[in-house]
Amino acid sequence: MSWQKSLSSTIGRKIMMSLSGILLILFLAGHVSGNMTLLLGKADAFNAYAHFMSTNPAVQVIANVFKLFFVGHIFYAILLTRQNKKARGGEAYKVSNKDGSSVSKYMGVLGSVIGVFLVIHLSQYWAVMHEYAGTIGTTTVDGVQMKDLYSVVATSYQNPMIVGGYVVSMIILAYHLWHGFASAFQTLGINNKRYTPVISFVGKAYSIIVPLLFAAIPVAMFING
């Protein structure tokens, strides 16, 4: 079987969904740990972190690879959804079936909301940081002059609409991960008595803890004023 044929088969496409999903899960872990500087209220540490992330050449390479995973995850999701809708056929059941994981039935909807969140999120911070939009001041940390992303973030989190939207998006993300984390391993064929209980426990813990930490940041910054 050629590479092209393998990758365009149902399982091949699912493997691409799964691998890109697992790497995006890792991305979230990296992102949330950097953001902990915000939760701890360390403006200089956050700015130094943002400066490093936007200037370090190795990080730039990794960031571009992650962009590919995002695009790939969305691309394969669209391909598979189209294929699955076609397979289901035109005539719908009069009484629909309620069996199985209900979260899994809404992965596309949940993912689309996350996609919308991502566009807004990037336009608010990433685009400003890279001076594609908005204005950003400068600050000096340890004698190095750098952009003051902290002030941009702190200002935005005084807006209850932004804070609310962020929290809702993180709840949606939690649901997406709730199914996605363990599902990615099932797709890779990792389902056995030894690992599956660990994977599903870690998956559930991860899908609560990571979005919770993300959501805690704007809420804490809003409360602290």
Partner: protein, 259 residues
């Protein structure tokens, strides 16, 4: 000795033939013995309809004891009805309440076109099987029993998969009309045994390729299939199919096995 009986209402999908438009028709069947199976109740309905000169409701059946996989029927939103781990022919009317309305639909999936009423074409499953669901055997003298040592746990695993009767309930329940549970069961029952391992790569690739070309969907690990499977085939077999496919597709050493 007259046992307990109930009266029921039915809403049944009627369709004159493949590609023809269909619609639901309402029926009433009275004095149904609760000891009857669902199919026997349909037999009663059909006798009544025949007496009235109407076209009987077409449905598939054969063994009527849960082993052949011919019976189907999507009853009140569940393939094989509301009970767990049984086929429609094993479903008894005592499951239903007096006066209840039961909605009966055919399996729905692009790869399972309706032939008439509740009968669908499931030959796609046969083509998946023919693509690789077998072991190539050079016939010769009869080998000694137990010549090949197979641990009990492995034999049990193969037997669990081999329980699949090819009914198609997994496809009917799946939101993606995926036949992964069926294909996985047919790959698994051979993949774990020494006799089956010799052709595992060719088998996994060929059966998945056939699965896809029949127009079944991809698995989203929703698990509706294992919930409705009358033989309680587990989705751990789908994980095995994924492994079998991955090792075959990416190891590259047996690509010449494909057509």
């Amino acid at each position: 000795m007259a046992g307990e009986t109930i009266n029921i209402k039915l809403k049944i999908w009627r369709q004159a033939g493949q590609g023809k438009p269909g619609k639901f028709e309402s029926y009433e069947v009275n004095d149904v013995s609760v000891d009857m199976s669902f199919l026997e109740m349909l037999d009663v309905l059909n006798e009544n309809e025949l007496k009235k000169g109407n076209d009987p409701v077409h449905f598939d059946h054969d063994c009527r004891e849960g082993i052949c996989g011919m019976c189907s029927l999507y009853i009140n939103g569940k393939p094989h009805g509301p009970k767990h781990g049984i086929t429609t022919c094993q479903l008894h009317m005592r499951t239903f309440k007096n006066g209840e309305t039961i909605v009966v639909e055919p399996w729905r999936a692009s790869a399972f076109p309706v032939l008439k009423d509740l009968m669908v074409d499931r030959t796609a499953f046969e083509r998946i099987q023919q693509a690789g669901g077998y072991v190539t055997i050079s016939t010769g003298g009869v080998p000694d029993a137990n010549e090949i040592a197979i641990p009990k746990t492995v034999a049990d695993e193969a037997m669990d998969a081999a329980q699949c009767i090819g009914c198609g309930a997994c496809v009917a329940a799946c939101k993606n009309a995926s036949a992964m549970l069926f294909t996985a069961a047919k790959v698994s029952q051979l993949a774990v045994l020494p006799q089956g391992k010799a052709e595992r790569k060719r088998r996994a690739l060929a059966m998945l390729e056939q699965h896809d070309s029949e127009g079944f969907g991809a698995c989203t690990n929703t698990g509706a299939c294992e919930a409705v499977c009358p033989k309680e085939i587990s989705i751990t077999h789908i994980a095995r199919l994924n492994r079998e496919f991955t090792r075959a597709a990416f190891s590259g050493s047996e690509t010449d096995y494909t057509n």
